[in-house]
């Protein structure tokens, strides 16, 4: 019998039978099969978060070893080669394997809950983006752990990365691994974009989206467009190294600067992509602890987009010393100074929210509010380097190292830890320990500033970056020792964070659905949420559905208890892009092996490329092609094809 093409979905209230029905439809099978086939965004989100935190720990340990080497002048704990692999792997790990995936993890977990939906638009693609992230991370670390780690810095300039100067496998691991990882980022970005525009709860118009959604959406649009630049650059590098092409070598008509342009056209938007979602987490979390809505929501949303748009036009500020013509330098310098303005909007909005609110000091609040200061410190050092002549002294010194750590740790790590304290109760049904949380916060905050605040001075005193040792020039030894000590204190802080998480998972205090009395939709479902998220799809009438009675904004209120039941299958609602009017019932895919099979195929393919084993490449390609075909085969359940007509 043909299923109807159109349906009027039933509206009703929740009940035990309804929940049981939804549970049967949505719950992942237990055991090994479920582990490999699940497409539940919450499971995928947590996997991302756990994996990213593991990489954070690895990258941190790499940093600590470096800080031991640099604690005193002229130490010989590490050889130059070891040091070079350490600083390069540290950068690669933190920027590619931690900073972006952690935000993908939180976004993956939270978005459907924030948006009032039952899953992301492409659940299988979601699983694929995680598996590829894991596989490419392992691929990259296989290089490092076999002594073939990247050794030319995370931005990997040619010709030092080219074959004549780097004959080993190091750069091949890095190049191919990054192309591999790029696939994960791209499909993840596609998923976020389509989800943001098509699968929201009815009534969640574009001006009611949580800022975190704005942040991740902006980052995803940027990533979609710029990741191909770096994938191409790495591919060209691999071609130069393995097939004798001449993209980057001057003798063959290539240009070393072509690498830098392609890399930074990607690299600069990327660094905004790894902070804008985190800024969104602060914009959504901080107001809860100030017991009032965010000040200047529209301005903050717009400034998020504006920052990214401007962020496309500043990449040359990483190349100010390369001998480019003055007019170009002037333009990019101006743009780089101007970009501080939209970034500043968020800072003022946050301070205003605290000022005009009633801040309740919790660990989450401490992380969210302290990041404002760290943001500003990182921002002003960026402002200093935006001026070309000043940059000609500051660049490639420890001043830039100080700047980048303030912006990355200040605008990514601190918000992420705060976000963990904030949303851990939702994810696990338990609170993180507040007392341990204070120790966690203060060790991280003090350790970080002891390590990196003096580093500005180290840079002003001329210490260059990326040196495995240094002379005993006035001031350098003391400052480096201070930084090393601070780094270890900071590491203890991070350790306390991990301890708190592990401990609280076992014995944490129980948390209700809305332990913080927060305003957004994720707090209207149980902690942890059931597989189907919302038993009843809410209709949203404001930015703060759960605060409407308190804020008395007048007009209509949201409907949380009564709404679309969508229980005729694995279903969620699709809505129009701007106004979120319901316009389609979406059938969602079941758990599937396709993502993990595809990842396995890609892994074989990339290992084949690394070792130049063309049979493996062929086998991998066949698995990938077959996997994609099976995945995209039109499915009746998803209504991608007509059902067979019944006979008789």
């Amino acid at each position: 019998m043909k299923a109807p093409d159109y349906r009027t979905p039933r509206v009703g209230i929740d009940s035990a039978e309804h929940q049981a029905k939804l549970y049967r439809i949505w719950e992942t099978a237990p055991g090994v099969k479920g582990f490999f086939t699940t497409v539940d965004h919450k499971v995928i989100g947590i996997r991302y978060i756990v994996t990213a935190f593991i990489f954070l720990a690895l990258g941190g340990m790499e940093a600590l070893v470096m800080r031991m080497q640099l604690a005193r002048p002229n130490m010989a704990l590490l050889t130059p080669d070891q040091y070079n692999q350490l600083f390069s792997t540290h950068g690669m790990t933190m920027i590619f394997l931690y900073a972006s995936p952690i935000l993908s993890g939180f976004s993956n977990y939270l978005w459907p809950l924030l948006l009032g939906s039952r899953d992301m638009a492409f659940p299988r693609l979601n699983a694929l983006s995680y598996w590829i992230y894991l596989a490419s991370g392992l691929f990259l670390y296989a290089g490092f752990l076999t002594g073939n780690g990247p050794n030319d810095g995370w931005f990997n300039y040619v010709p030092n990365a080219s074959r004549p100067f780097n004959p080993g496998l190091n750069e091949d691991f890095y190049a191919l691994g990054m192309v591999f990882l790029g696939i994960s980022v791209t499909v993840g970005a596609a998923n976020f974009i389509v989800t943001a525009f098509r699968t929201r709860a009815p009534g969640m118009s574009i001006n009611r989206l949580p800022i975190m959604v704005w942040g991740t959406l902006t980052a995803s649009v940027a990533n979609l467009i710029v990741v191909p630049a770096v994938s191409l650059a790495f591919f060209m590098l691999w071609m130069d190294r393995q097939f004798g092409t001449h993209f980057f070598d001057a003798a063959g008509g290539g240009q070393a600067l072509l690498w830098q342009h392609l890399f930074w056209i990607f690299g600069h938007p990327w660094v905004y992509a790894i902070v804008l979602p985190a800024m969104g987490m602060v914009s959504d979390g901080l107001p809860v602890f100030c017991r009032r809505p965010l000040v200047g929501y529209s301005l903050v949303a717009l400034s998020t987009v504006a920052t990214m748009i401007l962020g496309f036009g500043v990449w040359v500020h990483h190349m100010f010393a390369t001998g480019l013509p003055g007019l170009g330098l002037a333009f990019f310098s101006g743009a780089s100074i101007a970009i501080t303005l939209p970034s500043a909007v968020a800072v003022f909005a946050w301070i205003a929210t605290i000022w005009h609110g009633r801040p309740v000091i919790t660990t989450a609040f401490l992380f969210f509010s302290s990041m404002i200061l760290l943001f500003v410190i990182g921002g002003v050092s960026g402002f200093m380097t935006a001026s070309v002549p000043v940059d000609w002294q500051l660049t490639d010194t420890y001043f830039v190292v100080a700047h980048l750590h303030y912006v990355l740790i200040g605008i990514n790590v601190f918000p992420v830890v705060g976000a963990t304290y904030f949303w851990f109760p939702k994810m696990s049904g338990k609170f993180l320990d507040e007392k341990l949380g204070r120790w966690n916060f203060w060790t991280m905050f003090i350790g970080f500033n002891v390590a990196f605040l003096p580093m500005h001075l180290t840079g002003l005193l001329g210490m260059p970056r990326r040196v495995y040792t240094y002379n005993d020039y006035p001031g350098w030894a003391t400052l480096n020792l201070l930084t090393s000590v601070g780094a270890f204190i900071f590491a203890v802080g991070v350790l306390l964070f991990f301890v708190n998480v592990l401990k609280s998972l076992r014995v944490g205090a129980k948390a209700s659905a809305n332990p913080w009395d927060g305003p957004t939709l994720e707090w209207s479902v149980p902690s942890p949420p059931p597989a189907y998220n919302f038993a009843v799809i809410p209709t949203v009438a404001s930015r703060h559905p759960l605060w409407e009675s308190r804020l008395e904004e007048g007009g209509t209120v949201s409907s949380l208890d009564r709404g679309l039941l969508l229980d005729q299958g694995k279903e969620t609602i699709a809505t129009s892009a701007l106004d979120a009017q319901p316009d389609m019932i979406l059938e969602m895919p079941e758990d599937s092996y396709a993502p993990v099979v595809l990842t396995a195929g890609l892994s074989v393919l990339f290992v084949g490329l690394l070792l130049r084993n063309w049979i493996a490449v062929g086998v991998g390609a066949v698995i990938v092609a077959g996997g994609i075909l099976a995945w995209l085969w039109p499915s009746r359940e998803l209504r991608e094809r007509e059902p067979e007509v019944a006979h008789g």
């Binding site: 130059p80 030319d152 300039y157 040619v158 030092n160 100067f165 001057a250 003798a251 290539g254 070393a256 600067l257 100030c290 017991r291 000040v295 200047g296 010393a321 390369t322 001998g323 003055g326 002037a330 310098s333 101006g334 100074i337 101007a338 501080t340 303005l341 003022f348 301070i351 205003a352 000022w355 609110g357 801040p359 309740v360 000091i361 509010s369 200061l373 500003v376 410190i377 002003v380 402002f383 200093m384 001026s387 002549p389 000609w392 002294q393 500051l394 490639d396 010194t397 002003l460 005193l461 001329g462 260059p464 040196v467 020039y473 006035p474 001031g475 809305n514 009395d517 308190r550 804020l551």
Partner: protein, 323 residues
């Protein structure tokens, strides 16, 4: 610490050359603005948190939600105030850029500097070929006169940086960049490679020695002379060793050692440092550097020589003559 501020040899908060001097006030301006902004934000943040204290025994959900005051003025006022120092920085940046970006029209001296892993190949141009010469790692310039440096790279990207005289300019294979310096006071100024270039990037330094025009002329005269013939038997043996071994990579004008893959040693003893700023030029260091360079600058391109004691003595005896 203020001593350190002025005496760190690679620090640039004190400037001795025109290029760096024009940058310094802008650096200090942006630094001061930055510090002021950080202090202001810290104060505002502190006041904001402390303003409406909540009974610390209350849990979050026990503190009522309120709409609160309209805080939009924070954003408009904050942006307006921020825009002013930014605008000043913008305009001042353009002015300094215009002043220093172009090399001098009539330089007193033109140098061609080629960066190699991990040393500096310096070529002094002259009007006639007999006026031109090569040296390495120690650059002498006359005080108070503009010097044009044309920057080349033989292998990977390096960067030329003498903080007290001028800002950085990269040296990129396949293109020639230009920079300039003009020392206002005589002295020795340290330089450092400023783009990661491989294993010994950390030990790729050089010195710029600014001298009075008379001293510079004397130095130049001396540099133009070829190496003298060795007088003593040890020195003769040393020269032979130089020609047969060191000459594979090094040049000593006036002998048969004529390769250009490594620094020109014709006037080695006129330099204060060896191994591209890694070591003081003392007999002990020199002996160690010649025999076991890998222990002093691991992974550099000079292989360990495995010399006998007498060979080392002979070599030192010869090198002593290369003043």
């Amino acid at each position: 610490m203020s001593n350190a501020l002025n005496s760190s040899p690679l620090g640039y908060l004190d400037a001795a050359g025109t290029h760096a001097q024009r940058i310094l006030p802008l650096t200090l301006y942006t630094l001061v603005i930055s510090i002021v902004v950080c202090v202001v934000i810290t104060v505002l943040l502190w006041l904001a948190i402390r303003r409406n204290p909540v009974d610390s025994r209350l849990a979050v959900h026990e503190v009522p939600v309120e709409r609160g005051g309209n805080g939009l003025r924070w954003i408009s006022v904050g942006l307006s105030i921020s825009a002013i120092p930014l605008l000043v920085a913008l305009v001042w940046t353009m002015m300094v850029l215009a002043a220093i970006a172009s090399p001098p029209k009539k330089p007193a001296l033109v140098l061609d500097i080629t960066a190699r892993q991990w040393w500096w190949d310096v070529h002094y141009n002259g009007e006639r070929p007999s006026d031109a010469f090569d040296t390495a790692n120690e650059i002498h310039i006359p005080v108070g006169q503009p010097v044009l440096v044309r920057l080349h790279a033989a292998d990977v990207i390096h960067s030329f940086w003498v903080p007290k005289l001028s800002g950085k300019t990269d040296m990129i294979p396949g293109q020639t960049n230009q920079s300039w310096m003009q020392a206002e006071t005589p002295g020795r100024y340290l330089g450092q490679c400023s783009e990661f270039c491989g294993y010994q990037h950390a030990h790729m330094q050089f010195e710029v020695v600014a001298q009075s025009p008379a001293e510079f002329a004397a130095w130049k005269e001396a540099q133009l002379r070829p190496a003298p013939d060795p007088a003593t038997p040890e020195a003769k043996r040393g020269q032979e060793l130089m020609e047969t071994r060191c000459g594979m990579c090094h040049q000593v004008r006036g002998t048969r050692a004529g390769a250009t893959a490594a620094p020109d040693l014709t006037h080695l003893m006129s330099r204060k440092m060896i191994a591209s700023g890694a070591l003081e030029n003392t007999p002990g260091n020199l002996a160690g550097w010649i025999d076991v360079p890998q222990s002093m600058k691991p992974d550099s391109f000079m292989p360990n020589q495995d010399l006998s004691g007498q060979q080392i003595n002979d070599e030192l005896a010869y090198l002593e003559t290369l003043q």
